[in-house]
């Protein structure tokens, strides 16, 4: 912990630590080109961090919306290698916020842990989120992410209980709080116990605490922001993008669709005005 002096790429790129808006988009959905533009649009809509999903055949932490997005992306030939290649293009396009790669562990293992961490650095990826490794299994990859300056994002869940402290204390980048038991996807109601859960998490966390899983309306965004440092919005963003699928896939209609998408996203995170 003696090297804490130097800031990570993630930290450098993160512009604030409160009221964070972290959208999740799926690489290659609807097309790789569109994904680059969508990333930029998210930033324009106020995103503070971008979660860039890598499609996986067996996304067992995801609900139907993200599963289907992954299916579409896979059929576009998207994979871990290709997803990383999108990041430099996003930078070129003007994306300056931290980009966190969201991928299941198996493709990472297949790629090779060190090679992968190195590739993330080369491609200017700032953070990594692997939904299927808990703290106990994260040692190996953590060694390499630290070596290559990538923040390994941790998750806590409402049932993490005495694990919260351990997880929160070593959290990097931001701490991903799962809003309630279950997979990704919209939820009608927010977990009523979320406030006390978030208090506990914030008590231990050195990094911003963002809440994800099921946030899909401005009301929920407001509610959650009140108790945390930010919101992560996945399935709802995927749905907004999917509504423009055809227009986004086509270069000639893309700009218009992105504009509409931007205003929809703004409405979602900033409310009716």
């Amino acid at each position: 912990m003696t090297q804490m002096v130097e800031q990570t790429r993630f930290q450098k790129r993160l512009k604030r630590e409160k009221n964070l808006f972290i959208p999740f988009i799926m690489s290659g959905d609807p097309t790789p080109e569109a994904t680059v533009e969508i990333a930029y649009t998210m930033q324009q809509s106020g995103a503070d961090v971008l979660e860039l999903g890598v499609p996986y055949s067996d996304p067992l932490a995801d609900g139907p919306t993200i599963q289907e997005a992954a299916g579409r992306a896979l059929s576009q030939g998207m994979n871990l290698t290709e997803a990383m290649k999108l990041v430099p293009k996003m930078r070129e396009r003007g994306v300056t916020i931290p980009i966190v790669l969201f991928t299941y562990y198996n493709p990472v293992l297949r790629y090779g842990l060190e090679a992968f961490a190195k590739a993330m650095e080369e491609n200017d990826v700032d953070g990594l989120l692997i939904p299927d490794i808990p703290l106990e299994e994260s040692e190996e990859i953590r060694e390499f992410t630290e070596q290559y300056g990538v923040e390994l994002i941790s998750l806590v869940a409402p049932n993490s209980e005495e694990r919260i402290k351990r997880i929160a204390e070593q959290a990097k980048g931001f701490l991903y709080c799962v809003s309630s038991l279950g997979v990704t996807g919209e939820r009608k109601d927010m977990n009523p116990d979320i406030a006390s859960f978030l208090e506990k998490v914030k008590h231990y966390s050195q990094v911003p605490v963002a809440v994800g899983f099921g946030i899909s309306s401005y009301e929920q965004v407001k509610l959650v922001q009140g108790h945390s440092d930010g919101v992560i919005i996945g399935s709802k963003i995927i749905k907004l993008i999917d509504a423009h699928r055809e227009a986004l896939s086509n270069e000639t209609t893309r700009a218009g669709a992105l504009q509409e998408l931007q205003s929809e996203v703004e409405q979602l995170v900033k409310g009716n005005e």
Partner: protein, 396 residues
């Protein structure tokens, strides 16, 4: 038994572990604690043994295969008759154990995944018996192919939930069961059907299946006054094999696990995970699996629905790497031929899964000396496979 794995992280050497979303860590811990406590509790052990004996009909027979032995002219062949279990396969051993544990944990609802329906039927059965609610996740494709088993589960009072994600088969049913569990782990128990999944499942399922090997050891000693030279078992997820092998791991007995070679191990259509797969993560466990260059899981193939799984239990991955167990593979065609062989020689129609073990044993027994002895684990009966077998023989 001094085999010291899994370690406290649930690892068998490099394999096993708990590669799951954070949300599952608490329920897994809850199960692990309950299991450790139950296994030490004589009253739980008694209840488990009681159901095995008075409900499932254990001990299952160890049958001397008189005619098969004579025809082949080699090793003396015994059959461990897991086909005689209630519901027709070894699957019930584990389902009973886990359902008793679930009940002890105060869970009133269980969920299970199933491919062909065998583990679904076993789960629905114990749920009925113990008065638990039961949801069985099953791929849309499998539901179509296995209508009778679907109806059987429903008749037993279970709800069969159609899974339309992914390839709509076992792997996806398992994903979906895990997803459902993540959301409902407060009052649901997830009853996994093989030695797969995150720790403590591979260990727990093994411990509920080791009754196969324990009985075999005792029965074989009674009959032959020694231990067998070789033991054969088919490997899908690996539960019948590990159940049979585990009590023999430290003995001088050759153990042979047989994977499904489908249309051939050199074709894309196989399910030979250890022999032809690569290391990775599936359903929460580090093990071997069938995947592409990008780490996407590939749909496996075998004529037998119970071996048609892209992963394998982590303990097998370990036993493969350590060399303690020899793994072989058998094609669809060889397995079908073995169904016929055993049916006509012994009047026992085996499950196609089990026929993989039989086929390999038949190959090897011929080469062995009549003074040598082998045991084949007949993991299940073939009734469930009659349509498949009939179609195959009518085509061929």
């Amino acid at each position: 038994m001094s085999v010291v794995y899994p370690d406290n992280r649930g690892r068998y050497g490099d394999y096993g572990g708990q590669f799951v979303p954070e949300t599952l860590m608490a329920p897994l811990k809850e199960i692990e604690d309950a299991l450790n406590e139950a296994m030490k509790d004589e009253s739980f052990q008694k209840e488990y043994r009681n159901e095995l004996e008075h409900y499932s009909g254990r001990p299952t027979a160890l049958t001397y295969a008189d005619q098969l032995t004579k025809t082949l002219g080699g090793a003396k062949i015994y059959l461990k008759r897991e086909d005689l279990n209630h519901t027709g396969a070894h699957k019930l051993n584990n389902a009973i154990g886990q359902a008793l544990l679930a009940k002890r944990m105060g869970k009133k609802k269980i969920i299970a995944e199933t491919g062909a329906g065998q583990h679904g039927v076993a789960s629905a059965t114990v749920a009925a018996k113990l008065g638990l609610e039961c949801k069985v996740f099953m791929g849309e494709k499998d539901i179509e192919r296995q209508q009778l088993n679907v109806f059987r589960m429903q008749l037993l009072g279970a709800e069969v939930i159609s899974v339309s994600s992914g390839d709509k088969t076992l792997k996806d049913a398992t994903n979906e069961a895990i997803r459902y569990w993540v959301a409902h782990c407060d009052d649901h128990y997830y009853l996994i059907g093989s030695v797969v999944g995150p720790h403590p499942y591979p260990k727990m399922v093994r411990d509920f299946q080791r009754v196969i090997g324990d009985e075999t050891k005792r029965q074989f000693k009674e009959k032959e006054g020694k231990l067998p030279d070789r033991i054969y078992a088919c490997v899908g997820g690996g539960s019948n094999a590990i159940g049979m092998f585990y009590p023999f791991l430290e003995d001088d007995v050759e153990l042979v696990g047989i994977e499904a070679a489908g249309k051939g191990i050199d074709t894309p259509d196989h399910a030979a995970t250890l022999l032809n797969g690569t290391q990775g993560i599936i359903h929460g466990s580090m093990t071997y699996l069938i995947q592409d260059d990008h780490g996407q899981i590939v749909e496996p193939y075998s004529i037998s629905a119970g071996l048609d799984y892209p992963g394998i239990g982590p303990e097998h991955a370990y036993l493969h790497s350590s060399g303690r167990v020899r793994y072989e593979s058998i094609t669809d065609a060889e397995a079908l031929e073995a169904v016929k062989t055993l049916s006509q020689a012994e009047g026992i129609i085996p499950a196609i899964e089990s026929a993989h073990a039989i086929a390999q044993a038949v190959k090897e027994a011929k080469q062995m000396d009549p003074s040598e002895t082998i045991v084949i684990n007949v993991s299940g009966r073939g009734d469930k496979d009659m349509n498949t077998i009939m179609e195959q023989f009518q085509e061929g």
